[in-house]
Symmetry: C2
Subunit: 137 residues, 2 copies
DNA sequence: TCTAATATTAGAATAATTCTAAACTTAGAA
DNA sequence: TTCTAAGTTTAGAATTATTCTAATATTAGA
């Protein structure tokens, strides 16, 4: 489902986006863009610390903001939490929120048929759809 | 567009919802349920202070939470702000966010045609739709 | 090798909201 | 009417997510 990028590829993506590929940025970039699934800043810090990486909280926040500004990840907020979640899926897509676990799943646009009819004065730029429910396994 | 309730009606709605209709609750209730349009806690406090009401910040938060628990208002978060916004529209509905002004507009369900096709294991409970854009006047 | 630009950091600051525990108000029993 | 217990309001402290500050470290390129 998710792409895997080698360290070199992450480095290249950062450079191409005009971001200096430092050690911290490469590590966090690889985690957020490949391994993690909708992580929060807290998740990223916990992962880094578990990896015995010496990193400060500020760097985690700085790096996540940098990834967002570089267009490599997108921030989202969901109703069940007041933490920002980072999504590396750059395609337009929607979200399913499992209210039991708090887990967020990406939903491809193709799975939803949506037609918005509104007076012309509303100029639509984008659409956020969050489907809330439960997953039965 | 919005219903108007007299003080007595607000008092009745509070009582019927099992909430003691105190002065503070009636005042904030009337403001949130009739006069205001998607106010934040900050808006409610500012309004109360402008009215020369002696009220504490904690009471504003308590009362808003009470209104939500009583089912008289619903809390929402939007992507442009990290403040919770209170919505007295109890019908299911969607939102339009004017990215220029930050103003939120309610969109009736009838104005949107949405059809969600998903694997059966996703049990859908509710849907949050936020349309972001601009209003041309 | 040097220097200027850029990153990282610890810790302070900010902002929204909740908590705490004391003071106040109210509803209803006596 | 008075009393009491339950419920409400309050000021201020606490909490949580995030950003800021300003000092230190690293890096890119001359």
């Amino acid at each position: 489902m998710k792409k895997t990028y080698s360290t070199q590829e992450i480095e290249k993506r950062l450079s191409e986006a005009g971001v200096q590929p430092t050690l911290q940025r490469i590590a966090i970039g690889q985690y957020v863009l490949c391994d993690a699934d909708h992580p929060t800043a807290e998740d990223v810090l916990a992962w880094a610390e578990k990896k015995l990486m010496k990193i400060s909280q500020a760097t985690v926040y700085n790096t996540l903001n940098t990834l967002v500004e570089a267009g490599l990840a997108r921030p989202f907020r969901f109703p069940h939490s007041d933490k920002v979640v980072y999504d590396s899926n750059l395609m337009d897509h929607f979200h399913f929120l499992d209210e039991k676990s708090g887990q967020v799943y990406d939903i491809a646009m193709e799975d939803i048929e949506i037609k918005v009819e509104m007076p012309k004065k509303y100029k639509i730029k984008s659409l956020d759809v969050v489907i809330k429910g439960e997953i039965k396994n």
